[in-house]
Assembly symmetry: none
Homo-oligomer: 528 residues x 2
């Protein structure tokens, strides 16, 4: 079984993403997670370009990595000076890592137009820089910048550059598709050519995703013999991002039989992906291959029926292998089989109660035709299901009335939002209270929880995590139907609820009430 080395550059190239930036503490935590995942190399930053990266390497000394080797990144020496005198190379050494990776030019256009030195001189620059570093560190990786474009333009020169690095002692030469626009057949031929030139030096591959081909190009290069694959978690990186290790690892390991990490490490992949999204403060990509929330979600009725008979009919791998789970979505495309599956998930036995299923199907059809959607609102759906099965669902309070007032008195200032609410508690006690908020829904939410808190103090533990509004249909302007989705959470779980109305306040009210009801059912209803 051929081994493939994973070289992660989330902490360096990944931070070139337009909306990604990590604190020092984030970087240290990510390095630890990558180590636990079984990544072989963690590139921590570019101390010569970013002073905060030098700080990372100082702090990283306290990490206890079991498996991963830390790499510092830099570039070849400047022209016209000795490697010994190059400040940037000096900073790479000061990072005190077992591995240093340096990038050098291999495309003659860049040497002429960007460096503005003779082609021969660039070969000296590469040789000197690699040889200098090798005298001080264990492993020196040479990143051949623009290798694929360079090889297309001037094959002999691009190959001379990687030969110079190999001769000077580079322990690995990594071929980079820096512009990210190469296609797999071209990558394959160029890897073959490099291998022919420096047969004794292992090769790596570093791709960007500008033509949505970074994963395909990396696979092709590994098939042609590259030992190391460079990439980032979730494909973060400059412009369209780097090769996504989260897609590459399971494909290499589960579909092509290469060894990257241990199976129990692979099973943490979805968690690592979400962890990195969380620290970057970005919404995870639902549609992300292997690990996305939708990656094993089934919506079409036919698919759901088939997948329940035999999982592999519509799933290319068992989601558990990468730490993901199968999900069945509830929507107007779905039929009876979706419903039974969902019920089983919530621990409700619908199989034995056919009239209840029929009732629920009709209710659902009716609600969906009125604009309700339960894809992001499993808690509302569970309440609906329990209601259909058990007759009326338990009521925790009765609304007597509410009023929300938005009053604007000055052109430059937003309106003041105030809500008053009156409701009846479990033993007939009436609570009448009021609250302000940033807007009408916020004010209503505050007032509802203030009032309910008198009877059920646990409502104060709930946090509203997300609030989405979607106007259904167009052509009706501000008189259109509105769907509100609310996501709530306590320290144990998260749940979604939905409301629909022509009135955004009413739709929000429905979703707020479902959220509170769901919590109270979980906490107070022994059957739930």
């Amino acid at each position: 079984m051929r081994r493939v080395q994973l070289y992660d550059t989330t902490l360096r190239d990944g931070c070139q993403s337009e909306d990604v930036s990590f604190t020092l503490e984030d970087k240290l935590r990510i390095a630890e997670r990558l180590d636990a995942l079984g990544v072989h190399y963690v590139e921590g930053g570019w101390p010569g370009s970013n002073p905060r990266d030098a700080e990372f390497f100082r702090a990283a000394k306290r990490l206890r990595l079991r498996h991963a080797r830390l790499a510092a990144f830099g570039s070849t020496r400047r022209a016209g000076i000795r490697a010994e005198d190059d400040h940037n190379l000096e900073l790479c050494l000061r990072a005190d890592t077992p591995v240093v990776t340096i990038v050098g030019k291999t495309w003659d256009l860049h040497v002429r137009e960007d460096l503005r030195i003779p082609l021969e001189e660039n070969l000296d620059v590469i040789r000197d820089s690699v040889a200098f570093l090798r005298r001080h560190v264990d492993e020196v990786i040479f990143d051949a910048e623009h290798f694929f474009d360079g090889w297309a333009a001037s094959p002999a020169y691009a190959l001379a550059c990687v030969e110079a690095a190999a001769q000077a002692g580079a322990t690995l030469v990594c071929l980079c598709d820096t512009r990210g626009g190469s296609l797999p057949p071209h990558v394959g031929l160029a890897v073959d050519a490099a291998q022919g030139m420096i047969p004794g030096t292992p090769l790596g591959i570093h791709c960007h995703n500008d033509a949505e081909l970074a994963v395909a190009n990396s696979l092709e290069a590994v098939e042609r013999g590259c030992l190391q694959v460079q990439g980032t978690i979730n494909g973060f990186g400059e412009r369209c991002g780097n090769a996504n290790l989260v897609s590459l690892v399971p494909t290499l390991q589960l579909k092509r039989g290469f060894h990257c990490v241990r199976p129990e490490q692979l099973a943490t992949l979805a968690a690592v992906s979400r962890f990195v999204y969380e620290l970057a403060n970005l919404e995870p990509n639902k549609r992300q291959p292997y690990v996305g929330q939708s990656a094993f979600a089934h919506k079409g009725g036919l698919h759901v029926a088939a997948v329940q008979k035999q999982r592999e009919t519509y799933e290319h791998i068992d989601p558990a292998l990468v730490g993901n789970v199968q999900r069945v979505l509830v929507s107007d495309l779905a039929g009876r089989s979706n419903l039974l599956y969902k019920a089983a998930q919530f621990g409700i036995d619908l199989q034995s109660d056919r009239p209840a299923v029929q009732r629920l199907l009709e209710q659902l059809k009716n609600l969906e035709s009125r604009g309700f959607a339960y894809e992001g609102a499993e808690a509302s759906f569970e309440l609906l299901m329990r209601g259909a099965l058990e007759g009326d669902r338990r009521r925790f309070f009765r609304l007597i009335g509410f009023r929300v007032i938005d009053e604007k008195r000055h052109e430059g200032e937003p309106p003041i939002a105030e809500a008053t609410i009156m409701l009846e508690g479990p033993n007939g006690e009436v609570e009448h209270t009021a609250a302000q908020g940033n807007g009408p829904v916020h004010a209503l939410d505050q007032a509802l929880r203030k009032a309910l808190g008198k009877f059920y103090p646990e409502v104060h533990e709930v946090r509203l995590l997300d609030y989405k509004v979607r106007v259904l249909g167009s052509g009706e302007g501000t008189g259109a139907l509105v769907r509100v989705l609310i996501e709530s959470g306590d320290e144990r779980e998260r749940w979604g609820t939905v409301g629909v109305s022509h009135n955004v306040i009413e739709a929000s009210w429905q979703a707020l009430v479902d959220s509170m009801d769901y919590l109270l059912h979980k906490r107070r209803d022994p059957a739930a």
Copy 2:
């Protein structure tokens, strides 16, 4: 130059995305945009599975498509009945489209486990269904479901299925990677095998993205001879999505020399991508290849310097070819060129007024950092630009104050929404009035127009066509920032306006006021 046919299934497979659903009006608008883009086939839906799709085909008769042919989607007949008696095929014909596409099984596992019929009978099912449709429609496309998995498991049977479809008269056989887990080399070999089996029938390719290889697999299939490529805008689709046409078209056309669409159509690609995101009410993917906001954005200092000397050093294509623009992050230069680019779009000459550009840049930077976005709000942007150019923009009225009340008095009934408003007209007259509405924003809209109508009767001609609310960022629940987009129109044109606030009423108010201002400028301001 080899031609490649584009077959778009955004309106069918794209709607299987977990968080994508379009209204009927959205679907009609998307079909028109796809036609203008130069797409050859637009698959409108599955009338047999979704009643709303049948409605689409009825309404689509009023579209004037210049180029694209509409396709209805369905599946092969049920086992045990005649094709003539199959309700699902009947509904495909009732869609009354020049093209019908039907999906049929080609993987023996599915025939045995899902259909539960003998393998021979499935060949009859395919033959009958295709032959029946061919008697009624021009073009019948056979979607060979699971072809690549089927060919891996039982090559002879998978090929017998596509042969049955071809012999029965399918005008094209499309090979589907339904589970989305195939790799390019396998796709290449399987396409060769199909081509050998049915050399006289053109082939298509339909890929899913479960291993992040849908684009690579589609490219490989086209290189091997497939005439048609099926996919969706932005890669929407079930689970991890379908092959992304927005990535495929420029790669095929700019890098491989195939002909898909005219260059001036290709230059609208970024706009079409954003349009579909907007209608789906989803945040566009910044990192999306070719069209994303970051696709030609440069952050690293070295890259920025090089790219300014010579664009091709870090850009794999000229972004203008796909309607995108280069951006340099955290740099005044980039902002300025963007602005001039936008001004030119609106026919405003900013070139000659450098201080105004500076003023506008600062204003815009400030507004965008507060959550404003002008992609769908050209009217607000024009007002802003005119304001910066001409000093204070003309004021048509002054708000003294408004109050909106939502009052709910019964559990089963929605609240009653009432707005009162007081404003000062052009000659200091004060108008104080009130109106009811379906919800708070509707009531405010009605009251504003009632009051303004006293001074400017033309406001009664305006219709509010669409109203969208997006909550910006998550993690703050109902206290989050809200962006409102309003689309208005009279008999001459349509215009979009925007507002942002923590308070949805305030954000809506800003967008409503911009809409009225824009109208009054157009009608009453000779310079506009």
